[in-house]
Symmetry: C2
Subunit: 479 residues, 2 copies
Amino acid sequence: MAEQKKLVSEITSMDVDFAQWYTDIVKKAEMIDYSSVKGCVIMRPYAQALWENIQHTLDGMFKATGHENVAMPIFIPESLLQKEKDHVEGFAPEVAWVTHGGTEKLEERLCVRPTSETLFCEHYAKTVRSWRDLPKLYNQWCSVVRWEKTTRPFLRSREFWWQEGHTVHATAEEAMEETLRMLNIYATFCEEYLAIPVLKGEKTEKERFAGAEKTYTIEAMMHDGKALQSGTSHYFGNGFAKAFDMQYTDKNNTLQYMEQTSWGVSTRLIGAIIMTHGDNEGLVLPPRIAPTQLVVIPVASHKPGVTEKAQELLEQIKASGIRAKIDLSENSPGWKFAEYEMKGVPLRLEVGPRDIEAGQCVLVRRDSREKTVVKFEELNTVIPRLSEEIQQALFDKALKNREEHTYTAKSLDEMKEIMKEHVGFVKSMWCGDLACEEKVKEETGMPSRCMPFEQETISDVCPVCGKPAHKMIVWGIAY
Amino acid sequence: MAEQKKLVSEITSMDVDFAQWYTDIVKKAEMIDYSSVKGCVIMRPYAQALWENIQHTLDGMFKATGHENVAMPIFIPESLLQKEKDHVEGFAPEVAWVTHGGTEKLEERLCVRPTSETLFCEHYAKTVRSWRDLPKLYNQWCSVVRWEKTTRPFLRSREFWWQEGHTVHATAEEAMEETLRMLNIYATFCEEYLAIPVLKGEKTEKERFAGAEKTYTIEAMMHDGKALQSGTSHYFGNGFAKAFDMQYTDKNNTLQYMEQTSWGVSTRLIGAIIMTHGDNEGLVLPPRIAPTQLVVIPVASHKPGVTEKAQELLEQIKASGIRAKIDLSENSPGWKFAEYEMKGVPLRLEVGPRDIEAGQCVLVRRDSREKTVVKFEELNTVIPRLSEEIQQALFDKALKNREEHTYTAKSLDEMKEIMKEHVGFVKSMWCGDLACEEKVKEETGMPSRCMPFEQETISDVCPVCGKPAHKMIVWGIAY
């Protein structure tokens, strides 16, 4: 137990310093290593396995809705990036520029893609001719580069991994339908797989993606009350189509501009999992997405038959479709308990000589530490049931945290009062004016998160200017 | 049938111009599109789906042998690339350099990774402490950039997609075992999934990877007799370990250098599939790797019940685990036949009104055009059988092509004679001297491919210098 204490004491308490707690977790749970490339991280096997589970599930959801994967070049010529005015203004200040190939200076600079709208536009302009070719529903999994000044693993780094969907459609209606379909897929995925409740809503004009007509978002609340924008889906109308001359012939043989969308989620979701479910002992992973769902730890494994029984149980559990592993290392059981708590493995199975005599073992939940004595023959029914209970409990706890840190304000003063004592979501009405949005940010430090699809009437007027307001908006400090 | 002829006539005959035939295929089968980034290509959905099948299968083989995936940064600082002398000499002339982040000039140039040895070395130097941490068996799937002068889709491009395995071990024996294990996995994969026979062997010192002590290769022969290096596995010894100070404490508490390997295959394998199996009608894909294994084409689909029956058959076939699709577009059956032949779909199922009356349909093999009439109730047994027959037939045909284009030479003159009339593999003895290897290349245009594991004795002497020679080597012009 000495070792266990030592290990856990290496994590800063989340109540003392949440940012340091987060950094400790990503290092100690072996998710991230820093490289000599400033602002770029190494995704170690444990983070990569988590990301692959996310990819696998989302990719299945994309393909089930008719999307196909492609791979676009990593580079964008400067002239191509500049074709859409708002887009280049949004991204040019934060791109990495390639100026030399080998020893030769390039005739034109290339940027390492910060996002790939321009490449998809160029491709669609060339390959889509007629209404018969529409819609095109493409996605790619890749990494992108944005030259951020301050970085934090998973949340903001110079390189990050993501998927970017880019679709073109014959009509605005279809494109809008797609934009919302993908937002809903993101929300479903976050809630059902990551156990993270999300607010769905529309971004204000100020917070829109560079070049979009509408940006929709899912906003999650972290344990400390701060928001994390966890996925976005954009409706472009035909703005890019006009800039890139993306036309098709409709059923009446008339040239029309395509209607377009894009949508993405990134390795940021790993940050969301850590900060939503983690505790002072380390990670807490939702069973549906955990690389290892259960770890078998033999106790007093030097006693005859213990290791053999533990391995037999492992095989039985794996055969039932659970992602399970066993730790047969020479470390003490106490060390192992702490290690897999740190790693957030949802269930631990302990089995020792006396358990074996009684034909049973002990299952320990990572989230609640609750112990259940289970007969060997009941493992295959109890493990899935406990896993589902953990999944639900994590969601419920996160939802409760969000509800406890969601506030309502009818005036700017009220918002300022709330901000003095709390961190969380603040709901208020909003007249729709940029000036009022900026004033709130200036006075409270909170940018707008979104105008939620689920609206409530808090008052009749804008808390800033006092003019009539019909929209509810949510404010919050974000990562 | 007019449309069919038109479509097929768009492909240059492979006997007239093999290079143009290849370019036609990658364009017309919608595998590749060019972007405005010179030397970089777009992998369209069909190529990407093929690559994902390759990835999925290989990734499973890697994980079954204990490997874990990671993601390393896309950039390498210039000083890090320079740490291993041979390595930097090999790669520095062909890397893309990032010099600016946003508007700021970087203090140190970063290259876009051409390969990631240096990043893995740095990570292992930091994270591996003791023999208990070894071996580390890491792999990553990513794209890399090499500033090639002349490019060709899949075979040589400025960006390509690949996997790179990088492992460290306690002993030279273990590292060598790993090097050969991975070469064997590549060979098994190529032969069993891609139906491509490969020569396994060791590269000469001249052809070794920059920084490796040994490089092993699998060499495939394309339809035109040229070689394609299809995968390599490198044994590094402790050369990088010394340059990067990668040490661990062994069981006797003594500091030791790690022993290292790396190995990779790339989207080049797609080029290998095209040039090994393709014909004048287009792609021919091996069933085990084909994105679509069978396409259902209703004939006279305006007749009542035809479309319904075709869809029913599709569902039945998909339910049996076959990757199948249906074409219900308004194009003529003739157009569709040509289209899916072009795409290389291994089996076509034709079903029309008279077939339905007779309770049967027609299966047409892409490779041989052979037609089989099959009762509906027998489809689930006949389709897998035919698929396996196609898989085997493609392998046999490729092996026959290789055997027919493999020559034996006892003298340099004999080699030159062969080269005048044929393109293929030329086997000879070799004394091991670089001068003789260079002389063969100079006089015949053929670099060495490898010293095959399966050796034969062709004569007692080197065909160039006449000195005693105990090694058989294979020469060949390569892509």
